[in-house]
Symmetry: C2
Subunit: 239 residues, 2 copies
DNA sequence: ACCTGAACACCGTTCAAGT
DNA sequence: ACCTGAACACCGTTCAAGT
């Protein structure tokens, strides 16, 4: 298979990340006003301060005091920019757990820390599509999880699948939560009314337990899934 | 809190779904060429045949042989259309498991069936944001899960949190998978090269086990997470 | 060698005007 | 009462032209 410059490589694939690291040295030929890092950081700032839908090339150029066209000297498309910014964010979201905890407490702490980070930066969440997975910061996070899970007896393959499941679940549950914020008390009340108004013959449980079910919130759902994953690890290291 | 017509309600919230069902009767005043159902179905067709980025109001109108403006008689925004189409898709993705299986096999079958459906319709996946959660078809799915999990001894609250965790995990893992398709053999080979090229001091495990880790694929990761959730249910019904 | 202005081909949404 | 054409204010991306 030939590597042809004409066929564009999809951002976030192994091929794309690889090409990026291999061409790293011949990058900075001259002093520039702009840098890729600065652009990615500014993108994150825009996401935090103005939300996901504000991340446009025009808005970014405005913040950087340059033309939109100038951005395309550092990045071949908006997609590419998003992938790079997301891996950058993964670096920011990666916090070291307090020492002295057992593996279960450590993993729990990390999952909660990551979730809290994402909830505090909701603008990032729509862009987390797995394409950041092979970026340098994401790989640092993976290395950390691999170290932890292999240290307690999982095989390398198991540790990788486990870490992926954790990441998937945390990101997925935050996306789910932000889709409709169930912490809003009024939303909760209306959800109850919605359940109550259903056809009791087709929805016997939802109608009968409308009040109770309307109270089940995102933290509860997250706690269940997280405990499940931790239990599964416990089973696999003892067996 | 007053319900003001001037303040738009975010699509997918309880308030929005509620208003929709309550105003259902005074909808069809006259015969129309277009219907909401037809529009939503056409949207799904576009997603399946042309992919996620092809779902524009112009493209939709073209398929329906009407003007873009006509769509806005049935839907107040593209967001709304997406939410409705996604709930519709949830109805299509809901398949009844073969009878006679135990709870674990049944749940496993359903999770795989849902995953297969999403993988077969990748155009849907970017739009699953949890906003479809309270739609009629999604609620039918929820009722099904609730029935299963309460039947084996979980409380209603536990059953709801469990079902949510399952849904979150399935959707999240498919999003993750489609972000970068790791079933591509060339991608796998390149991923190995990517791992091998990392700094061994900062990434000791990834570099040492590059080949093995590059082989871990999406089915394996999914199997781990699913087994974990099923184990967790088993623990909770026996304890 | 680097950056820009202006354009191109798209978006979602609105609204006066038609029938 | 219903639908439309045409416009508005945006997008991402390109490229000849500047310095």
């Amino acid at each position: 298979m030939r590597m042809d410059d004409a066929t564009p490589i999809r951002a976030g694939t192994a091929a794309w990340w690889l090409a990026r690291t291999e061409n790293a040295d011949d990058r900075p030929r001259r002093r520039r006003m702009l840098s890729l890092d600065l652009i990615a950081d500014t993108a994150l700032t825009v996401l935090d301060t103005e939300g996901a839908e504000a991340l446009t090339m025009r808005r970014l150029a405005q913040r950087l005091n340059c033309s939109q066209a100038a951005l395309y000297r550092h990045v071949t498309s908006r997609d590419e920019l998003v992938v790079l910014a997301m891996d950058r964010a993964m670096g920011l979201g990666l916090d070291l757990p307090p020492p002295g905890l057992g593996w279960r407490e450590t993993s729990e702490w990390q999952a909660h820390s990551f979730r809290d980070f994402l909830l505090a930066h909701p603008g990032l969440v729509p862009f987390l599509r797995g394409t950041e997975r092979l970026g340098p910061n994401s790989l640092s996070g993976m290395e950390l999880w691999l170290g932890q899970f292999t240290a307690i007896g999982l095989s390398v393959r198991e540790a990788y699948a486990t870490a992926s499941a954790f990441a998937t679940f945390v990101i997925g549950s935050v996306q789910f939560t932000l889709g409709v914020d169930s912490t809003n008390p009024d939303e909760q009340r209306l959800r109850r009314r919605l359940y109550e108004g259903l056809d009791p013959r087709r929805h016997p449980i939802l109608t009968a337990h409308a009040e109770e079910l309307s109270q089940v919130g995102s933290p509860e759902e997250f706690a269940f899934g997280l405990a499940a994953l931790l239990d599964a690890v416990a089973v696999r290291i003892s067996g």
